[in-house]
């Protein structure tokens, strides 16, 4: 009877409306999962939460040098599994004033018998300090190819922001060196 089928049709239309909305939510949340990747990077960039520093050079933008504060900056290096390089900081600790530009060197040598392309991945501790550690020039911005037996000194030019939180007096920059020869298209 017409009234009965009308009710059925209305029900089905109601169902379709809700189903469409829910399926949209499903796809939106799937996309959200992937969106979390760049969101995470943005969040970490702003807050320095995971200790990641800038991955391309920045211009010097400090308003002078704060000589009333001295920050200890330590450098450590670590080799990932399977990369037969010697990689160490030439100096492992320096004192800087916020706003002061500094230049330090790192020594690297490919001790094996094959050509290897390395990639240094920086990490700063405490994580909060990462956002205030500005790298103007860094060997970690690019890949580092070294032929077998070749050695090199690589530079890092940086400064520490004037508004580094006052409770931080020491920060540590760590480089982990990875062999990315296999990942690079020659």
């Amino acid at each position: 009877m017409s009234e009965g089928t009308e009710q059925e049709v209305i029900k089905q239309q109601n169902n379709s409306k809700v189903i469409k909305k829910l399926v949209l939510v499903v796809f939106a949340m799937f996309g959200f999962g992937f969106a979390l990747v760049p969101l995470y990077d943005v969040f970490c960039d702003i807050t320095g939460l995971n200790g990641k520093t800038n991955s391309s050079g920045v211009a010097y933008a400090a308003d002078g040098i704060d000589t009333s504060r001295t920050i200890k900056v330590q450098f450590i290096t670590r080799m990932a599994k399977g990369i037969p390089w010697q990689f160490e900081p030439v100096t492992n600790e320096i004192s800087v004033h916020p706003g002061e530009m500094k230049f330090v060197n790192f020594y690297a040598k490919n001790k094996s018998h094959r050509d290897i392309i390395g990639q240094a991945v920086p990490s700063v501790s405490p994580g909060i300090a990462a956002g205030y550690f500005q790298k103007i020039e860094c060997f970690c911005f690019t890949q580092q190819p070294l032929k077998a037996g070749e050695e090199v000194e690589m530079g890092l030019q940086f400064y520490v922001d004037l508004d580094l939180p006052s409770e931080i007096t020491t920060l540590t920059l760590s480089y982990t060196l990875y062999d990315i020869s296999g990942k690079v298209d020659s």
Binding site: M1, E3, G4, T5, Q7, E8, K11, N14, N15, V18, I19, L22, V23, V25, V26, F27, A28, M29, F30, G31, F32, G33, F34, L36, V37, Y40, C44, T47, L49, N50, G51, K52, S55, A80, Q119, V121, S125, P126, G127, I128, T176, Y178, I180, K183
Partner: protein, 533 residues
């Protein structure tokens, strides 16, 4: 036309459009779109998975019975713990609740079936397929997944054993099943309630599943996303979680736990619904504070989205992150506490009897609360540094999942078995199941608190000598608990085969539309929606 005639003609419409001949044999079960049949399929499947996951746990406990590696190699031990977790979470607990949803929700809201009966069939039948893939991986050369059910990268990517692809495939299928089931539940509840049943007149059971449905729709796709990223990192050269390529392994944990935390609430909210149905029935008193129970459940669901990083306090989070997640996690104790108090207030000055559903429900309230206490302790970040990744955590989540979720499932099963089968189950055998389970489960999981406090980490196949005594008792409890579940199997089989005939409403204090139909419930119920006042 009179109301009667409209209803009759609706029935005609139904009967003309649907084949009302019940198929028999295998075909019935393969092609069924009937919510009761599908509910039964889910429930049996989940019980088989419980026994399978439990068997894996028995091997784990056998290895941990004494110090030394006696039975298995460490890598195989990691496979056991991983698959045990995956099976219990995705194969036992979640499908069991889906089985309850299928059986009970249409009847409780006066609907003839779920909104999407054919999708319902698919939702179930892809599950055995998914678990065949997962369990099949044990027979691969590299073995099953061995990186924990939480599959952190890069252990699960660069350093995995080759089972990752199967693992990802299985998880995708389980996820699709859950999402389809959740959509079905939400649409059913929104659109098929009998006239007069407003949202605030729905049984709390229906509310908890409604909210759980939304949680599933929101977070299962995120799991699908993270597991896809895992696949591409492992096989297609992406670097989501690989520092060498600019990725971050901690980001994996953020995305995973964004799914993972709501997931554990997905596994407990339905339990709250079941217990909120049973306690009033056997107290012969209405549930105390119905509306605050609804609000509390909703708050718990909302809060569950902003606490995920309490699983990650040791990853190197900055102070303000730790504080934020600590405070939010502690906050969840408030609505959860409200629910516990409301259950107690329901019992208070009631007229109590202690049939098996009530026994399991009371045990749920007490033991789940104990699990909640250890959860509160875990929320305190500074102390979490001592508890994290130790047996203290293992104790916590087994209390909330086993004496919590699983006990509520048993409670609900006993409560509704008469409705499902038409027979009363054997009450004294059921009480044996209860008491044996209660004692053995506490012997199994309570000492784990001490083990964790004494310093025993998780996921280790062998341990230092000071942990030996408790491990021995835990293993004994484990074997006893495992065996006790066979009593349940006996009760169910006996009940299906025969027993005292069950009336429409065997429990005098029970309320709800399901008790207005005969026991066993007719194959089609509420073809005509009832009037609800």
């Amino acid at each position: 036309m009179t109301t009667e005639t409209i209803n009759e003609s609706l029935d005609d419409v139904h009967n003309d459009d649907h084949h009302d001949h019940k198929m028999t044999g295998i075909k019935r079960w393969l092609y069924t779109t009937n919510h009761k049949d599908i509910g039964t399929l889910y429930l049996w499947f989940s019980f088989i998975m419980l026994l399978t996951g439990g068997a894996l746990a028995m091997v784990i406990r056998a290895e941990l019975f004494q110090p030394g590696l006696q039975i298995v190699e460490p890598d195989f031990f990691n496979q056991l713990t991983t698959v045990h977790g995956l099976i219990m979470v995705f194969g036992a607990i979640m499908p069991a609740f889906t089985g309850f949803a299928n059986w009970m929700i249409p009847m409780m809201i006066g609907a003839p079936d779920m909104a999407l009966p054919r999708m319902n069939n698919w939702s179930f039948w892809i599950l055995p397929f998914a678990f065949a893939i997962l369990l099949g991986s044990f027979f691969m050369e590299s073995g099953a997944p061995n990186f924990g059910w939480t599959f952190y990268a890069p252990l699960s990517t660069t350093y995995s054993n080759g089972s990752t692809a199967f693992f990802v495939f299985a998880v995708h299928i389980m996820g699709i099943s859950s999402i389809m089931g959740a959509i079905n539940i939400v649409v059913t509840i929104m659109n098929l309630r009998a006239p007069g049943m407003t949202y605030m007149k729905m049984p709390l059971f229906v509310w908890t599943f409604f909210i759980t449905g939304y949680l599933l729709i929101a977070v299962m796709p995120v799991l699908a996303g993270v597991v896809t990223m895992l696949l591409t990192d492992t096989y297609f050269g992406t670097s989501f979680f690989d520092a060498a390529g600019g990725g971050d392994p901690v980001m994996f944990q953020h995305i995973f736990w964004f799914f993972g935390h709501p997931e554990v609430y997905i596994m407990i909210l339905p339990a709250f619904g079941i217990v909120s149905t049973i306690i009033p029935a056997f107290s012969r008193k209405k549930l105390f504070g119905y509306s605050s129970m609804v609000y509390a459940t909703s708050s718990i669901a909302l809060l569950s989205f902003i606490v995920w990083a309490h699983h990650m306090f040791t990853t190197g989070m900055p102070l303000f992150g730790e504080l934020f997640f600590m405070y939010c996690t502690m906050l969840i104790a408030v609505p959860t506490g409200v629910k516990v108090f409301n259950w107690v207030a329901t019992m208070w000055r009631g007229s109590l009897t202690f049939e098996t559903p009530m026994l399991f429900s009371i045990a749920f309230v007490i033991l789940f609360t104990i699990g909640g206490f250890s959860g509160l302790m875990l929320a305190l970040t500074p102390v979490d540094f001592q508890y994290h990744d130790t047996y203290f955590v293992v104790a916590h989540f087994h209390y909330v999942l086993v004496t919590g979720s699983l006990f509520s499932i048993y409670a609900g099963a006993y409560f509704w078995l008469p409705k499902w089968t038409g027979h009363m189950y054997n009450e004294s055998l059921a009480k044996w199941h209860f008491w044996c389970s209660l004692i053995s489960v506490n012997l199994l999981f309570f000492p784990m608190h001490f083990l964790g406090l004494a310093g025993m980490p998780r996921r280790i196949p062998d341990y230092a000598l000071q942990f030996a005594d408790f491990n021995k008792w835990v293993s004994i409890g484990g074997f006893a608990f495992g065996l006790s579940q066979l009593i349940f199997l006996a009760v169910v089989i006996k009940c299906i085969k025969g027993g005292d005939k069950a009336p429409a409403k065997p429990w005098d204090g029970a309320e709800g539309l399901e008790w207005t139909v005969a026991s066993p419930a007719p194959y089609h119920t509420f073809s005509t929606p009832p009037k609800v006042d």
